[in-house]
C-alpha cells in the first residue's frame, strides 16, 4: 500500500462548557489515500462537522484537541509547531454548508476568489482578476466575466456553491473537505454540483472528504464511507461493501430509515431513542441504549473499531 495522504490516529475533541466537558469526538482514526473520496455519514450531533473543523484547525478556543498523530502529506499537524495556518486554503481547503452565509455578502464574488489567490498563490494584483475568472470558468459558471462582478445575493444557491467550490479549488489543494455541500439545494442542483465536484476531483487526483447526512448521496459519490454516531466511528467500509454487508446495528438503522425508490412506508423504520448526553460518563459503546441487539457484555470493557476483512471494520461486539 502506498503512503496515505492523510492519516489520523486516535483523535479526540472535547469542549469545555459551563455545563461540563462535552466529549464530542473520541478515538477517531482513519487514513485517506491519494485521489480517494471518503464519505463521513451520521445524524446531526454525531460529530461529523466537528471532525472536519478539527482537521482544518477552525475550532473555537474552548475545544481541546488530542491526537496521537494527524499526518498530512508527511507533515505533522497535531504537534505544537503545526504549519496548518500557512497551508490552510492552499494544501487543504474546505467547502462550507450554506454557501450564502459562507460568502462575504458585501464583496463581489470575483474579489473573494482573488483574495484567496493573492494570499496563497503566485498571482500579482494585475493577473489576479484573470486567474479568478479562470477559476469561475473551471466550475462551469456561464459568462464568468460578468459573474466576477456579482454579489452573492445576485446568484442562485447552486451558483453560490459553485463560487465556493471555485474558491476552494483555486489553489489546487491536495485535500478538499466538503461539509454538507448540497444541503439546502434542490435535488436537480445537487446532482449537477456533485457531478461537477466528482469531475474536478478526478481530473486533479485530489483527495476529498464528503460530509453528509445522506447515505444514498455518500453511496453514489464516495469510494469509502465512515459512519459516525455520537462522536465514535462505528463502521468504516468501501461504499459497495457497506451497502451489501453493513455490520453495525446503527448503520442498519440508518439504511432502514432512508427512503429509496423501492421502499414502501411500512418498510421504513427509525432508530429508537436519541443521542446520549455527551457530558456524562459514557459506556465504551455509545449506541448501547438505542441498540436492539444489546447483550450484557456490551456494557463492560472497551469496544474498539475492529477489522472484519475486505477493508471493513466495525465497532461492535455483536455485529450483524
Amino acid at each position: 500500500m502506498t503512503v496515505p495522504l492523510l492519516s489520523v490516529k486516535n483523535l479526540s475533541v472535547s469542549f469545555k462548557t459551563r455545563s461540563g466537558t462535552v466529549k464530542v469526538l473520541d478515538d477517531v482514526s482513519f487514513s485517506l489515500g491519494k485521489g480517494e473520496v471518503l464519505g463521513i455519514v451520521g445524524e446531526s450531533g454525531s460529530g461529523k462537522s466537528v471532525l472536519s473543523y478539527a482537521l482544518m484547525g477552525l475550532l473555537d478556543e474552548n475545544a481541546e484537541i488530542k491526537a496521537d498523530a494527524i499526518e498530512f502529506g508527511g507533515i505533522d499537524l497535531a504537534g505544537p509547531n503545526s504549519p496548518l495556518a500557512s497551508i490552510r486554503g492552499r494544501e487543504l481547503s474546505m467547502i462550507f454548508q450554506s454557501p450564502r452565509t459562507a460568502l462575504n455578502p458585501i464583496m463581489k464574488v470575483g474579489r473573494q476568489i482573488e483574495d484567496v489567490l493573492r494570499r496563497h498563490g503566485p498571482v500579482t494584483r494585475s493577473n489576479a482578476r484573470a486567474a479568478a475568472i479562470a477559476a469561475l470558468e473551471k466550475v462551469r459558471i456561464p459568462d464568468p466575466e460578468r459573474r466576477y462582478n456579482a454579489y452573492p445575493f445576485e446568484l442562485s444557491g447552486g451558483m453560490c456553491q459553485r463560487v465556493m467550490i471555485a474558491m476552494a479549488l483555486s489553489c489546487s489543494p491536495s485535500l478538499l473537505i466538503a461539509d454538507e455541500p448540497t444541503t439546502g439545494l434542490d435535488v436537480t442542483t445537487q446532482a449537477v454540483v456533485m457531478d461537477l465536484m466528482r469531475d474536478l476531483v478526478r481530473e486533479t487526483r485530489m483527495s476529498s472528504i464528503l460530509i453528509t447526512h445522506d447515505l444514498a448521496l455518500a453511496g453514489e459519490y464516495c469510494d469509502r464511507i465512515v459512519v459516525m454516531h455520537a462522536g465514535h466511528m462505528v463502521e468504516m467500509a468501501p461504499a459497495n461493501e457497506l451497502r451489501a454487508h453493513f455490520a453495525h446495528p446503527y448503520t442498519k438503522g440508518l439504511f432502514a430509515a432512508t427512503p429509496t425508490a423501492h421502499t414502501e412506508l411500512e418498510d421504513l423504520s427509525s432508530i429508537p431513542g436519541s443521542l446520549p448526553d455527551l457530558t456524562r460518563d459514557l459506556p465504551s459503546c455509545r449506541f448501547l441504549h438505542r441498540c436492539d441487539r444489546r447483550q450484557p457484555d456490551c456494557e463492560t470493557g472497551h469496544v474498539a473499531l475492529a477489522p472484519l476483512g475486505n477493508d471493513h471494520s466495525v465497532r461492535c461486539r455483536h455485529p450483524l
Binding site: 445524524e43 435535488v187 442542483t189 449537477v192 445522506d214 453514489e220 414502501e264 421504513l268
Partner: protein, 327 residues
C-alpha cells in the same frame, strides 16, 4: 389503489401574480392557471424545485394569501373570494390548517407547548378552560408527546419533538385539509421516518386530506396517493404516485427522479438538468415553460404552450412529446 374520493377541495383556473419592478408594471407569475382536485381522505403531493411556486400555491390554498384570479371551493363553498385577512376570523379557518417547514421558526419561543396548542383551539373552537385543556392533552396523545411536555418551551425540545408540536397544533382543531409545507426537510432521516409514520397514522384515524409539499420525491411517494409536479408556476404532470414515479411522462419529472441520489446507478445514464429555470417575470405565454432546458425539445415547444391533457387513468401531462407518443 385509486379509490375515487368525493372532492373536498376543487381549484379552477387559479393564478397568483405579484407586481414587480420599479413601476410595478411587470408581473411575476408565481402560480399560473392551476386546476386541482383534492379528494376527501386523499393525500396529494406537490413537488418541484425551489421557486416553482409550490409554496405560494400551498399558501393560497391554505388561504393565507389571496389568489389573483381563480376559484377555490371547499366542500362546495367558494372560499377564494374571501380576503385572506378575514379568513382567519371565519368559521372555515379550522377546516384548513398548516404545518410549516421549519419546526423551530414556526413556534413562538415564549409560548409553552400547551399554550402553542391551546391558542388556535381558543380562537377557533372555544369552550371552557377544562374543555380546551382536555383537547390539548388529547392532541399531545395523538402525536405521541408525553403530557408533561406541555409545560416545556420550544428551546427545551429536540427537532423531532418540535415537529410533533407543530402537527399537534394543526390537528387539534380537527381540520378537513392539512397543508404540510416540507414538514420533514429539517429533520434527520430517523426522525423523518417517525414523523412520516405519524402523519400516515393520523390520516388513517381522522380521514383528513393532506396537501404535502416537498422537493423530495422519495418522501412524497411514500405518503401520497397522487402527485402533482410543478414547474415555473404550472402543473406539468399529475397522476397516481406510482405511475408518476415509475413511468414519468414529462421530461422534467424524469429529470427530477434521475436527480435523486442512487448508489446503484451506473454513473452517467441519467437526464441531467443544466442551468436554472427561466424567469417567472412576464413569461412567454406561447411557449412551454420548460423550453430551453428540456433535453427533448421540439420546434413547436417555443411557439405553443402544451395544455395539460389526459393520458390514461387519471394521468395528466403537459408536454408536446407526450401527446405525440413517447416522451
Amino acid at each position: 389503489m385509486t379509490v375515487s374520493h368525493t372532492p373536498l377541495m376543487k381549484v379552477r383556473g387559479l393564478s397568483k401574480r405579484f407586481p414587480v419592478g420599479t413601476l410595478r408594471r411587470k408581473m411575476l407569475h408565481a402560480v399560473d392557471e392551476v386546476d386541482l382536485t383534492i379528494g376527501e381522505g386523499e393525500c396529494l403531493g406537490l413537488v418541484g424545485e425551489s421557486g416553482c411556486g409550490k409554496s405560494t400555491l400551498a399558501r393560497v390554498l391554505a388561504r393565507l394569501v389571496d389568489p389573483t384570479v381563480g376559484e377555490i371551493e371547499l366542500s362546495g363553498v367558494e372560499i377564494g373570494k374571501i380576503p385572506a385577512r378575514n379568513f382567519g376570523a371565519s368559521s372555515l379557518r379550522r377546516d384548513i390548517q398548516v404545518v410549516f417547514q421549519d419546526p423551530t421558526e414556526s413556534l413562538n419561543p415564549g409560548f409553552t407547548v400547551f399554550q402553542a396548542i391551546a391558542d388556535p383551539l381558543r380562537r377557533l373552537v372555544g369552550g371552557s378552560k377544562e374543555d380546551i385543556s382536555a383537547m390539548v392533552l388529547a392532541a399531545l396523545d395523538d402525536v405521541g408527546l408525553p403530557r408533561e411536555y406541555g409545560s416545556r418551551y420550544p428551546h427545551q425540545l429536540s427537532g423531532g419533538q418540535k415537529a410533533r408540536v407543530g402537527i399537534a397544533r394543526a390537528i387539534a382543531v380537527k381540520p378537513k385539509l392539512l397543508v404540510l409545507d416540507e414538514p420533514t426537510s429539517a429533520l434527520d432521516v430517523s426522525v423523518q421516518s417517525l414523523i412520516l409514520h405519524l402523519l400516515a397514522k393520523l390520516q388513517k384515524q381522522r380521514g383528513m386530506s393532506y396537501l404535502f409539499v416537498s422537493h423530495d420525491l422519495n418522501v412524497v411517494r411514500l405518503l401520497c396517493d397522487k402527485i402533482a409536479v410543478m414547474y415555473l408556476g404550472r402543473i406539468v404532470e399529475f397522476g397516481p404516485s406510482k405511475s408518476v414515479f415509475h413511468e414519468p411522462r414529462h421530461p422534467y419529472t424524469r429529470a427530477l427522479i434521475d436527480a435523486i441520489p442512487d448508489p446503484e446507478r451506473k454513473s452517467d445514464d441519467r437526464t441531467k438538468l443544466e442551468g436554472s429555470a427561466s424567469s417567472p417575470i412576464d413569461p412567454d405565454q406561447n411557449a412551454c415553460r420548460f423550453a430551453g432546458r428540456c433535453p427533448v425539445e421540439l420546434p413547436i415547444c417555443t411557439t405553443a404552450m402544451p395544455p395539460l391533457t389526459s393520458h390514461g387513468v387519471g394521468s395528466l401531462v403537459a408536454c408536446h412529446r407526450a401527446t405525440g407518443g413517447n416522451p
